[in-house]
């Protein structure tokens, strides 16, 4: 008799989801599914609105990574205006994107995932959270909170607001950077870099304690997608899309924004509001791929900054013959990217061009279609708009990082559930590990479904007829 386990809600993620684990007649895990249970419809209700509103309108999808939406949206709008934005505006947009990556990666690693890594997957759930970490490892918790604050403060210093600023506009940014603001950020960079390096040094030996999780947390071959510069250096704001396979061989390279519809399509499953994008040439569901820190580190040739370059070499030593496959290593990749982002912030602020007052191109709509692609902390983000002659949106499509990872998350929780769920009852440790697979991807479900909802998770265990045998719930 087959059975189903349900985890509802999944916790310490951004958004609302449910996991069902179906057991076969022998009581072994057959398949696990992640269901995103919220819907918002941004692509529909933005129709009829002027394109200039799109950055701020779509940024309201999410309070964690509004900067990512602002950037991808503004890039799509730049194309609708058919302008090449001033160089200083590009630098300032890059700068705020790195600040966003710093704060979001710090949030994911320190606040959401460090409880599992520091206190253990089987530790008491009552204290398995950032406050529990603060009680036992106060220095690390303080570092994490400081680093996130640093990222958020850079965003605020540049744009006037930590969450949902209106500084990033079609054509560039609203106003230039003041020298005093630059100096204030520069003054804090040494401490931020020191924390990033210290955290990496602490984390690398810790990895050895999680061999079972590394082996079973979405550890399978997939494609990896990420932006790189035309020379192959990791990119987060501009660049071209590259797809590599599990051997890190380039499958397709130098894709421009307008090429994406030829390579990425979206499938819809009846049990989730989250679409399942797939690599079109391989079809659905064979075209499974991953995006985000792990994918970016697998896809690029180099980091392009000295400290992160050394870390990339060490990271790649985890799997010298190909791509690093286990999604558990998203955490590690996130820390390497955090260091890289801080190095890039240092470089950008050292350039005198960053203070240029030419930061915005003004234009009417001059094209009917615009696509903006950037790398959000969680992966590749695509905003695609069409407008009428007056600049009003007639069609919009948003493909969000978490969506790209949907197939891999589902396959990942099936792999973990097969390993850790052994009986008709769900143990706390098994529940947490299945959730932790999802947490590796640092998914933002509000973004990915552009959806409305709370954030709890439920896991259900059902038999082959769909009868619920056991369920766990976290509010």
């Amino acid at each position: 008799m087959t059975q189903t386990i349900t985890i509802d809600p999944v916790t310490r993620i951004e958004g609302h989801s449910k996991i069902t684990i179906k057991l076969d007649d022998q009581g072994k895990v057959d398949v696990a599914r992640l269901h995103i249970t919220q819907f918002r419809g941004f692509e529909k209700f933005t129709e009829g609105r002027p394109f200039q509103e799109m950055p701020s309108l779509t940024a309201r999808t999410c309070g964690i990574c509004p900067i990512s939406h602002l950037l991808a949206s503004a890039k799509a709008c730049d194309e609708l205006m058919a302008v090449r934005i001033p160089d200083a505006a590009v630098s300032l947009r890059r700068l705020i994107n790195y600040a966003q990556i710093i704060q979001s990666h710090a949030l994911s690693f320190f606040h959401l995932s460090s409880p599992d890594l520091l206190l253990g997957m089987d530790s008491d759930p009552a204290s398995r959270h950032v406050l529990g970490v603060a009680a036992k490892f106060p220095e690390l918790a303080k570092d994490g909170i400081w680093l996130r604050k640093f990222g958020q403060q850079v965003i605020e210093r540049l744009s006037g607001k930590r969450v949902h600023p209106t500084w990033i506009v079609p054509g560039g940014v609203a106003y230039p950077l003041a020298a005093a603001t630059r100096d204030a950020i520069v003054a804090e960079l040494p401490q931020a870099l020191a924390i990033a390096r210290k955290t990496l040094d602490w984390y690398k030996p810790v990895i050895r304690m999680f061999q079972e999780e590394i082996a079973t947390f979405a550890n399978f071959p997939t494609l990896f997608v990420g932006l790189v510069s035309p020379e192959g250096t990791i990119e987060h704001y501009d660049g071209v899309l590259r797809v590599v396979d599990s051997q890190r061989k380039i499958v397709v390279d130098k894709l421009q924004a307008h090429d994406y519809p030829d390579y990425i399509a979206e499938a819809v499953e009846p049990d989730s509001y989250l679409k399942s994008p797939y690599y079109k040439p391989l079809g659905y569901p064979r075209g499974i791929y991953r995006v985000g820190p792990l994918a970016r580190l697998n896809a690029c040739d180099r980091m392009g900054t000295p400290l992160a370059e050394i870390e990339l070499a060490e990271f790649r030593a985890l799997q010298p013959e190909g791509a690093v496959l286990s999604s558990f290593h998203f955490h590690y990749a996130r820390l390497v990217e955090l260091l890289h982002a801080l190095e890039r912030v240092t470089e950008l602020l050292a350039s005198p061009q960053i203070l240029s007052t030419q930061v915005r191109a003004i234009a009417d709509p001059n094209k009917s279609e615009g696509i903006g692609i950037s790398e959000a902390p969680r992966g590749t983000l695509i905003h695609h708009y069409r407008i009428d002659d007056n600049g009003l949106i007639t069609w919009a499509n948003l493909i969000i990082a978490t969506g790209h990872n949907n197939l891999a998350m589902n396959q990942g929780i099936t792999q973990a559930a097969k390993h850790f769920v052994k009986h008709e009852k769900i143990t706390e440790g098994a529940l947490n590990r299945v959730e932790a697979v999802i947490r590796c991807y640092d998914p933002c479900l509000s973004c990915s479904t552009h959806a409305l909802g709370d954030m709890p998770l439920r896991i259900e265990l059902t038999d082959s007829r769909g009868e619920i045998l056991d369920s766990c719930e976290r509010a």
Partner: protein, 236 residues
Amino acid sequence: MAKVITLKIAGTEFKTGEGKTILELARASKIFIPTLCNFKGLSNVGACRLCMVEVRGVPRLLPACATQVAEGMDVTVDSPRLAKYRKMILELLFAERNHVCAACVSNGHCELQALAQRLGVDHTRYPYRFPKYAFDASHAKFNYDANRCILCTRCMRACDEVEGARTWNVMGRGINSVMVTDLHQAWGRSPTCTSCSKCVHVCPTGALSEKGSAVGEMVPRENVIPYLTSMRYSGR
């Protein structure tokens, strides 16, 4: 010799000449009375009812913008009763159309938003109507979003009384009233609009805006109409 009127506003005694409204005298004396439809340099319509005040001895509320000062008046400009009605009016305005401050060109420069903040409107008790109004982006320079219109008719009065074009009009009745250009044709095809921008700079919300403005970037030039009218009256 001009007659001197003595009256009290908000407990303070004033001596003033005839012909002024309570609102004019209060503003000149820095006494706050909320308004939305009133605009210096334009005629009064008393449409928004936010400036209602209590006058001792008069059982009903009176609009400060349309009530002239009179001898012995004792005017209360703020009371629990007035606060209740003013909040109610603002809530009804929010519920009537689709005001989304987060994505609005006038965010941070909107009189409706500022009044709501000042008067403590933190939610709306009435169900939103979510009307479906199309965005008119047909004009080369300006946008019109009826979703953000509060029917104050400032645009219509500026167009009529200062520019003399009378492009703007009210169409429909009651809750279905809506501002239209000419005989409800696209603004961009209006044969009467002179593209002078006066309507845009008197709009209290983001209903009328300059094209190309991103969120929060529509900052109205509020002095244009008072300047033009004062120059006309001075005969220059």
